[in-house]
């Protein structure tokens, strides 16, 4: 069984921030967090900030969002009455699809959007997913000007 998800709404600026941070992170994976309004942790509306974070793993194969970046992002979101509504990371040599590790780790934040950016080919490929109970469902990414 899948689940119904609203699209992920990003501004073009946020899209650029995410993709640029992914390229800047090469050869390692890059990662970051998305904030926005939420009710009971459920994202509700457009993303308000795409915040680049450090990859503690400094690895081309894995990522772990720097714990200090995580806390500062959380506090900034709370100050706006918002929540962290998702995260992104790059796959440097594979598809923009969650790996088994990504699916297992997503259990911690089941309401989030998970954005994958593949840098495998000439142009970046961004796709977004909801991941709950081991089920991966793709959702549309809508870019607002």
């Amino acid at each position: 069984m899948g689940f119904v998800s609203p699209p992920l709404r990003l501004t073009e600026g946020q899209y650029r921030t995410i993709v640029a941070h992914c390229y800047d992170g090469l050869p390692d994976e890059a990662c970051g967090l998305l904030t926005g309004p939420a009710v009971d942790d459920e994202p509700l509306g457009p993303v308000t900030e795409a915040r680049p974070c450090r990859n503690e793993d400094k690895s081309a194969r894995t990522y772990r969002i720097d714990s200090r970046d995580f806390m500062s992002t959380l506090r900034a979101a709370e100050a706006r009455g918002e929540a962290i509504v998702g995260g992104w990371h790059s796959h440097t040599h594979t598809d923009a699809y969650p790996s088994p590790t990504d699916v297992a780790q997503a259990e911690a934040y089941p309401a989030w959007f998970y954005v994958l950016v593949s840098l495998r080919d000439g142009a970046p490929v961004m796709r977004a997913y909801r991941i709950r109970g081991g089920t991966v469902a793709e959702c549309r990414v809508v870019l607002d000007r």
Binding site: R61, I65, D102
Partner: protein, 96 residues
């Protein structure tokens, strides 16, 4: 140096609440974060494995904060706590 046990609030993420009777926040006592975790483990045995690994270090996929500071950048489990501190446990955001 003499240290005394103080009560602190420990905030638990959704994922760990079933191990603590469903509570979002519990009070535990200790002079350090490690003491506080030991106190928690005595009452909620299921919580222990989620917080500390086999080698006795903070579990790889958990971030532990004293107020807003990750204790890994302080004194790990030896990080001292004082009355009124809040210990927040947040699952790490990680993957491959």
């Amino acid at each position: 140096m003499y240290t005394r046990d103080v009560p602190v609030e420990v905030r638990l993420p959704t994922l760990l609440r079933p191990h603590a009777g469903g509570a979002a926040s519990v009070t535990a006592e200790g002079a350090t974060v490690g003491d506080v975790f030991a106190d928690l483990a005595a009452r909620y045995p299921g919580l222990s494995d989620q917080l500390v690994d086999e080698s006795g270090s903070i579990h790889k996929f958990v971030n532990v904060y004293r107020n807003d500071d990750d204790v890994r950048y302080l004194d790990q489990l030896d990080t001292k706590v004082t009355d009124g501190d809040v210990i927040s446990i947040l699952p790490a955001v990680a993957g491959g």
